[in-house]
């Protein structure tokens, strides 16, 4: 794991905090200011502020820690604090509200009103930051968090640069939310815009999937144990399935979702990152660069599909109306803000191949969709069956060994294998050996945003997406997306509450495989 960059104060001053105790202390956030663009938005209210308050509650934030909220609406500091208090009370899921801790935390909340495209905003922000740095001794370290429309990312970066805020006495970092471009060209254009002010090392592209404990646990599982890695290759693995199913629809985000679709919204970022984590080569160390290099290498090894392959190995879907649990559920085209002839994919499935010695020929089936029967995200690694069926009819269905990594809900790992049924015959049946994350470690897991915010503030980009990873992902997804856009599909092609279009089942059936029913 990356550490704080060493500080230099001259030869007679200490450069490292001598009070650190990594065995017992949580990772500590150094003094800094977090500037949130889009401070009155949903993400700030639902995720960022509850996560920051929780960090304060857990004594993870430095005494002088401060937040500057930026939005167009004119607000005083006190009004902003009142709004954030409401957000923390409403959206903190498993945190006790403590009035004293809040008061102390709220003293570090400030607000600057303005338009992202107005140069004056950045001048006012610079003046405010100078005041805060002086009063709260934040050392000039600032993290800018862009929780705004992606189209405003580049202008925000340029505004910061023009006001001289891209550099300062301490560190300066920029956190951006997905989507990182709409395609490969726009992703590059976005990066170029950000790089005008911030080096790539200062740009933190957040993918909250990578902040989930169980996704991080994949690395521990693979590289902390000696027994799995020897099996982790084409010789033993028949295929891999990665599924991210949501039971809900677009929930009022129809207009946004219509322009994005499942392929770009989920597979291009979250699921390809998960796939990279499950399939990457062992990194030489747990240093951020090393881990991200391996993830990036894996993403670049995914074969880009030809037109024929796209037709054969990718399936878009869109849900139609259905009656679920006694309630009528509208189809996607009847959702608010969605065109009645929309061609947007609310379901996407694809078969990917990784062109390296470890995985050559092993299909990676990836699927995601809305309005599927349940909310579940998991990875299933199906191993080759035993080469010989020596138990005759007692072999049952010769169920293959399956290793299942459940990311949500009920996070854990299960291994399915065959066992003899008690009795006189040699009757085999599949049994499951389960590791349940919540059972073995009942302590509260930090939310993905808590983890990722701390990582960004201490300067550890391991769980953040790098430019080359974004570009590699787009290289994989863009040909599929382009072809889907040029095709008129007979949507809807699956009922809300079902497991997706029949064509997705056929995609696997062609190789003699079946989707798991999670």
């Amino acid at each position: 794991m990356g550490r704080n960059p060493p500080c230099y104060f001259g030869s007679t001053m200490p450069t490292d905090n001598p009070f650190q105790d990594p065995l017992r202390f949580e990772r500590q956030v150094p003094e800094c200011v977090v500037v949130i663009f889009g401070a009155n938005g949903d993400l700030t209210r639902r995720k960022l502020m509850p996560a920051l308050y929780r960090l304060a509650y857990d004594r993870r934030l430095a005494a002088g820690f401060a937040v500057v909220g930026i939005s167009r609406t004119p607000l005083s500091d006190d009004r902003f604090r009142a709004g954030m208090l409401d957000a923390v009370k409403r959206f903190s899921e498993d945190t006790t509200f403590d009035a004293d801790v809040w008061r102390s935390f709220a003293e570090g909340l400030f607000y600057v009103a303005g338009d992202i495209n107005d140069a004056g905003l950045y001048q006012r922000l610079a003046a405010r930051l100078a005041e805060i740095e002086s009063a709260r001794q934040t050392g000039g370290s600032v993290m800018f968090y862009l929780s705004t429309q992606p189209s405003q990312y580049a202008s925000a970066a340029r505004g910061l640069g023009a006001a001289g805020l891209g550099k300062g006495e301490g560190w300066r970092r920029l956190v951006v939310e997905k989507p990182f471009g709409q395609d490969l060209a726009s992703a590059r254009e976005l990066s170029d815009g950000l790089h005008e002010v911030f080096d790539e090392s200062g740009v933190y592209r957040i993918d909250h999937y990578l902040g989930k404990e169980t996704v991080q646990n994949i690395l521990a599982f693979r590289f902390g144990n000696g027994i799995f890695e020897p099996l982790w290759n084409r010789r033993y693995v028949e295929h891999v399935q990665i599924a991210a199913a949501e039971s809900i629809g677009v929930e009022g985000r129809g207009a946004y979702y219509q322009e994005t679709g499942a392929l770009a919204d989920m597979i291009q970022n979250h699921l390809l990152q998960v796939m990279a984590t499950i399939a990457m080569e062992p990194s030489a160390s747990f240093h951020a660069t090393s881990v991200r290099d391996e993830r990036s290498k894996l993403l670049r090894s995914i074969r880009s599909m030809t037109s024929d392959e796209i037709r054969r190995d990718s399936v878009p879907g869109q849900y139609g109306p259905a009656r679920i649990g006694g309630q009528d559920v509208p189809g996607f085209r009847a959702e608010p803000g969605v065109r009645p002839d929309s061609q947007t994919d609310t379901y996407a499935a694809a078969t990917f191949f990784v062109e390296n010695w470890r995985w050559a020929g092993v299909p990676f089936y990836v699927r995601t969709g809305k309005r599927l029967p349940k909310r579940v995200t998991e990875i299933a690694i199906r191993f080759n069956p035993a080469p010989l069926a020596i138990f005759g009819s007692g072999d049952g269905d010769r169920s293959p060994n399956l290793l299942i990594v459940r990311i949500q809900p009920e996070e854990g790992i299960s291994l399915k294998f065959l066992s003899k049924r008690p009795g006189s015959g040699m009757d085999l049946r599949p049994v499951s050996m389960d590791f349940n994350y919540g059972s073995s470690f009942g302590e509260r897991s930090p939310s993905a945003y808590e983890t990722l915010l701390v990582d960004a503030m201490i300067g550890d980009p391991t769980l953040y997406t790098r430019q080359d990873m974004v570009e590699a992902s787009w290289s994989v997804v863009e040909p599929i997306r382009n072809m889907w856009r040029e095709t008129r599909f007979d949507f809807p092609n699956y009922d809300a509450g079902s497991w997706g279009p029949a064509a997705a089942d056929e995609m696997l059936a062609r190789r003699g495989h079946l989707w798991r029913r999670p």
């Binding site: 200490p14 905090n17 500590q28 009920e410």
Partner: protein
């Protein structure tokens, strides 16, 4: 109370317990449909004197199980009298929120009179779960002075004691054997130390570290060893401080003050808050009172030697020696 307990019989009873969970229709355990999940990451041996607090200890062990699932072996020390040794086996199950299956841990409760203490090591040793660490938590200061304590500590990867009210020399002797040792009097410093450390994550404060000359630790009466550990840990990080450790009846647990060169850092508890003041700028954080559960939760998360504790213990002994 019977006078003998056979470890093989206890193990058979444990096996029988799990077999009963697997039988269909075991509605009593509420697990008829989904079965139960057995969770175990260690063997936790807990020795405590028989007292009215015994039931509370059971609750502490139960509370620890979801985070540190273990085969728990609580030993109730019944004191003088005839030789008496008995055991009973049971499970502790809970349904994790939002999940479908109960999670269960097993417990072997042993009651032993002083006359039967010599039999404890040979009974407990085969009951330890193979290939998983054994942790020995001794809550009995009486047992700590007996030879059976050494035998039980010898089978453990980590021994946990609470030196509150006792000389630190006993902890030092335990640590000198080379096994991992936890002292809850040290555990009580963690949140204070973490908060102080946070102050010096700030580069300006870190740069002024060398100007500090005086350390004062005031403490309530029960926190004497905790304050000694705190002072020792700070002086390991900042050598040559002038140190004052003193009881203060007005003090709610600890008050730590570092000063020098016009720089002042103070930490003090106010009810359930820790207030840290750096050069007049005060900051408040949550600091709940620590119970056995919170302290053991932390100690069970560390199953190897803790070099920071070892260094603080050594320093605390030197400070105590120097002050006579």
């Amino acid at each position: 109370m019977t006078s003998t307990v056979n470890s093989e019989r206890v193990l058979r009873e444990l096996a029988g317990l799990w077999a009963s969970f697997g039988k269909p229709g075991n509605a009593d355990e509420g697990a008829a449909h989904a079965g139960v999940l057995r969770a175990c990451t260690m063997t936790l041996v807990v020795a405590a004197d028989d007292s009215p607090e015994w039931p509370a200890l059971g609750e502490t062990i139960a509370a620890l199980m979801p985070e540190h699932p273990a085969r728990a072996i609580p030993i109730r020390l019944t004191g003088p009298g005839g030789r008496a040794l008995s055991s009973r086996v049971f499970s502790q199950c809970w349904m994790p929120f939002g999940q479908r299956r109960q999670v269960c841990c097993e417990q072997v409760e042993i009651a032993a009179s002083d006359a039967a203490l010599a039999d404890l090591p040979s009974l407990v040793s085969p009951l330890a779960v193979p290939d998983l660490p054994v942790v020995f938590w001794c809550r009995s200061s009486r047992l700590a002075g007996m030879p059976e304590f050494d035998a039980l500590a010898a089978m453990a990867r980590k021994t946990i004691v609470d030196s509150q009210g006792l000389p630190l020399g006993g902890v030092a002797r335990l640590a000198a054997r080379g096994t991992a040792v936890g002292d809850l009097a040290w555990t009580r410093t963690t949140r204070w130390r973490e908060t102080l450390s946070q102050v010096f994550e700030n580069r300006h404060n870190l740069a002024r570290l060398g100007t500090l000359t005086d350390l004062s630790v005031a403490h309530s009466a029960p926190m004497a060893n905790t304050s000694a550990y705190m002072a020792a840990w700070i002086s390991n990080a900042i050598p040559n401080l002038k140190i004052s450790i003193a009881p203060d009846a007005r003090c709610d647990s600890l008050r730590v003050t570092l000063a020098g060169g016009g720089f002042r850092v103070e930490l003090e508890r106010h009810a359930d808050r820790l207030v840290v003041t750096v050069d007049g700028l005060a900051h408040c954080a949550n600091l709940p009172r620590l119970d056995d559960y919170s302290q053991m939760r932390e100690e069970l998360g560390i199953l190897r030697r803790d070099p920071v504790f070892d260094a603080a213990l050594a320093r605390a002994l030197r400070l105590a020696y120097a002050s006579g």
